[in-house]
């Protein structure tokens, strides 16, 4: 076994993080060795994706991160389906980013965001499973000296029908591992699936019910110290000074250190000691140029962008401005959507051990390779001398993917105390203040109608923040951030608009406040769907048409969008009378490769209290890999989307975030949870994601139902700021 170069004494703890996945008794534990394949005794790796142990236990390697979305189970199902193995013997493990690089990125992309875990890797992971099956069958055929074509495999048993002989996978694994990988690897037709496509339980549930599951926050190394941190609360500010002498004598305190030029850490024996001392530490900040920014000043800047002459076009056909100028009637509305924090239940954290020869980081991350790159950059060591170990996430939602600010911090701390492992845990307050926030935007929509009430033109002007400009400015070309137009793109396989207008213009006036943006579960599909689907609803009401019928009339060239809208409407029995006081709203969108629609049933009391009774949600993800997990993602999407719609708002005062914890940044709780009915209508032929798209239909379905109930059109979120009492 090739052991990575950390001291031997650390190995038990590292094994611990993989307990339940790789730590199979008596077999090799993958987390600490660079798998080099079959040449290693006792390491029966058939290929990069599949390890088969002599006792038939199958270990499937998963490159993407599990953060609750079930990708671990879904990806394992796809591999197991092609492997024809016994599902009850399947476990999983993560290869490390360093191993991926050492093996020429054999596991492909580690990035786990954009609902891409399955939809972007289904092909090569299934081929991994199929190739392994072919090699196992070939090994048995070789032993029997018969053609492989006469043999078949089912549930980890290979059979030669003609002679009645059979062998278990575990019996031929070592021989199979020595064979050449097949060149041609055909895949099954999804209609023949028996493991994939089934509503199987998750593989990782039990340890989440008994306290055994180790999250990043729980990770320990011998001799480890604990760190708490404060970064300048005003983005772009710096540390002016801090008085370490005031807290050095406090219990447990070991170090008081700067972290970059904007943060200070206290390192102590326990985290609580570190936090207590940090709270007592006098710090003076240089708040920098943003110290006067407020939510109001940002809103005014964005408002100016709604009519600014310069804007970048995202989608257009015909001459929308001309048609609007000649329209018999113009309907106009302006919407806005606030900053939001991801608010993962597990705050940002990481553990690091730095020596001049090596830097290692253990962290919950949506992108192990990005965590490794951040480790290398922050440590100043080459990639080959760094390693990042992924730990399952206590929530990700996009916060733990594109930016690894907390990893840079922990490495900067560890570098100042070489040889001593240190775990950095953010306080909830730090996590709330230093998010990578859902971007802030406003949107002005103008529709032109002819004298008969037909829509002749739509102009949709988005003003506001660009995530890509904030995170990857090198990817902005000609001033255009393509992600801004999610759900509004021209017809195509990704995030396309579901309506046709004779004249259409969708453009963006970029305005980037100093508040750092990030990819936030659902990303720009969230507010774009609110803007468009609310406005479509406005047009329906303004022209006296039923919101469903009005949509259908604009969707004739968008059959997939229409089919999923119809599926939701049918299940919800759109048009059928509801109990007194209950009203419906409907909407649809397309993004992350999938088509989604929802119907909400709400009532609004005389006091303005909103009750959401029932949600019907339809999803067409092309292929449904695990319907039970899709249902959970749809239900969870409503919690995330409705949390945002009802409460989610980060406001800025004096350049800093005002909300510091869940008492001021409210989120949805069980009490507000409606009944959710999920309708899965997989039409086949494509692979869509399921972790995000449904979030986008949560708010507009409810907003449209609120209008039906009250006649009030809420155009500025969250709803907690709106007075829903009937006028």
């Amino acid at each position: 076994m090739t052991v990575l170069s950390a001291p031997r004494s650390f190995r038990p703890s590292r094994r611990h993080i993989l307990a339940g996945s790789a730590a199979v008794a008596g077999a090799f534990t993958f987390g600490f060795s660079i798998p080099a394949g079959a040449q290693q005794a006792g390491t029966p790796e058939i290929n990069a994706w599949v390890v088969v142990h002599p006792d038939d236990k199958v270990v499937i390697r998963i490159a993407r991160s599990e953060m609750g979305q079930g990708t671990l189970t879904g990806l394992a199902q796809l591999v197991a389906e092609e492997l024809n193995c016994d599902w009850s013997k399947v476990t999983t493990e993560y290869p490390t980013p360093g191993q991926n690089i050492a093996r020429n990125r054999v596991w492909g992309n580690f990035s786990t965001g954009g609902s891409r875990g399955i939809r972007e890797s289904h092909d090569y992971v299934r081929k991994g499973g199929a190739a392994a099956r072919m090699m196992l069958i070939q090994a048995a055929a070789n032993e029997w000296k018969v053609p492989a074509a006469e043999c078949s495999a089912e549930k980890s048993v290979i059979t030669h029908k003609a002679s009645g002989r059979s062998l278990r996978y575990g019996q031929v694994a070592a021989a199979a591992a020595k064979l050449e990988a097949p060149k041609e690897v055909p895949l099954k037709d999804p209609k023949d699936w028996t493991i994939a496509g089934k509503a199987l339980p998750r593989l990782d549930t039990v340890d989440k019910t008994n306290g055994k599951k180790i999250y990043g926050m729980d990770f320990k190394l011998p001799g480890m110290l604990n760190a708490a941190i404060k970064d300048c609360p005003v983005f772009g500010g710096k540390v002016k000074s801090f008085d370490a002498a005031k807290v050095r004598g406090m219990p447990g305190v070991k170090h008081v250190l700067p972290v970059g030029d904007s943060a200070v850490t206290v390192v102590a024996e326990t985290w609580w000691q570190a936090k207590t001392a940090l709270d007592a530490l006098p710090i003076e900040w240089d708040e920098g140029p943003n110290a006067k920014v407020t939510s109001e000043s940002i809103a005014a800047w964005l408002k100016e962008g709604l009519d600014a002459p310069d804007a970048v076009v995202g989608n257009q056909n015909g001459d929308a401005k001309g048609a609007l100028a000649g329209a018999a009637r113009v309907i106009e509305a302006t919407y806005s959507y606030p900053f939001q924090n991801h608010a993962c239940m597990e705050v940002m954290n990481a553990t690091a051990l730095y020596t001049p020869e090596k830097c290692e980081v253990w962290t919950p991350t949506q992108n192990g390779e990005a965590a490794l790159a951040a480790t290398a950059e922050a440590s100043g060591l080459p990639l080959a001398k760094c390693e990042a170990y992924k730990i399952d996430l206590g929530g990700g939602f996009g916060r733990r993917g594109a930016v690894h600010d907390w990893v840079r911090q922990v490495v900067a701390i560890a570098k100042q105390i070489p040889g001593t492992p240190v775990k950095l845990i953010w306080s909830r307050e730090e996590d709330m203040l230093h998010g990578r926030f859902h971007p802030i935007t406003q949107c002005k929509l103008r529709a032109g109608l002819d004298k008969d009430g037909n829509v002749t033109a739509l102009h949709m002007r988005i003003s506001g923040q660009s995530i890509v400009a904030g995170l990857f400015p090198q990817n902005i070309q000609n001033g255009r951030d393509p992600v801004v137009f999610q759900g509004l793109n021209a017809p195509g396989p990704e995030a396309s608009i579901g309506y046709s207008f004779p004249n259409l213009l969708i453009d963006h006036a970029m305005r980037n406040p100093h508040v750092p943006p990030g990819f936030w579960r659902g990303v720009n599909l969230n507010q774009n769907t609110i803007y468009l689907e609310s406005f479509i609803d406005e047009l329906a009401h303004e022209t006296g048409k039923d919101p469903l019928e009005f949509r259908r009339s604009l969707m004739k060239s968008h059959p997939k969008h229409l089919a999923v809208l119809n599926a939701a409407a049918e299940r919800a029995e759109w048009g059928k009378p509801l109990p007194a006081g209950v009203f419906r709203g409907i909407c649809q969108t397309m993004g992350f490769g999938s088509y989604v629609a929802a119907v909400a049933e709400v009532s609004v009391g005389a006091d303005g209290k909103l009750t959401i009774h029932r949600i019907v949600a339809a999803t067409d993800p092309g292929h449904a890999v695990n319907p039970a997990q899709i249902e959970r993602q749809v239900e969870g999407s409503f919690v995330y989307g409705l949390s945002a719609a009802l409460y989610g708002e980060i406001t800025i005062k004096d350049g800093r975030v005002e909300q510091e914890n869940f008492d001021t940044y409210e989120v949805m709780r069980l009490e507000a949870m409606p009944k959710v009915e999920t309708v899965i209508v997989p039409s086949g032929g494509f692979w869509g994601g399921v972790g995000e798209p449904t979030i986008a239909v949560a708010a507009p379905a409810v907003l449209n139902a609120i209008f039906a109930a009250t006649g009030k059109r809420v155009r500025s979120l969250p709803l907690k700021n709106a007075d829903l009492r009937k006028a």
Binding site: T205, N210, G211, E635, S637, Y640, L670, M673
Partner: protein
């Protein structure tokens, strides 16, 4: 030195009396199934039982807990993970990321012990724990399932 009764064992812990019980459990006693989520008793990830009552341990100074009070953490809810609530959680495949679920399970177990047949309204008012993945539908279903089974309650 403070004495605590945790999961049926009397433990000596040397810690400042202001330290929240949560951090004593996590850092001194070394049981990490109980989670830090907010530190201000808002989210419930830190829920343990004290004499059978679901208690948010993140805002409770350890000095406020006596040796006579029985603290139970997720690790001590059952010897082998077979408490009816744990079994219902597995049956309904409740957890997503799982981070909040120790607190959810401890809150649900205390609820069902005190009120073996909770109504949906009872569940809504007692289960105020935050889950950002959004497992509420399954949490409710699992609790109702345990209630239907009638295995819990004041004997």
């Amino acid at each position: 030195m403070t004495k605590l009764n945790v999961n049926g064992r009397i433990l000596d812990v040397a810690v400042d009396g202001d330290t929240p019980l949560l951090w004593v459990i996590r850092e001194q006693i070394g049981l990490t199934g109980t989670k830090y989520g907010c530190g201000v008793a808002q989210c419930g990830a830190c829920t343990v039982h004290i004499d059978g009552v679901a208690t948010r341990s993140c805002a409770l100074p350890v000095s406020a807990v006596t040796e006579e009070q029985k603290i139970v953490t997720i690790e001590g809810l059952s010897p082998d993970g077979t408490h009816p609530v744990q079994q219902a959680w597995i049956k309904h495949d409740v957890p997503q990321c799982g981070f909040c679920q120790s607190g959810m399970i401890m809150t649900a177990a205390a609820l069902l012990q005190a009120n073996p047949k909770p109504s949906e309204a009872d569940i809504a008012s007692e289960m105020t724990n935050i889950c950002r993945c959004g497992t509420y539908v399954r949490v409710k279903a699992a609790i109702l399932d345990v209630a239907a089974g009638g295995q819990l309650g004041r004997g």
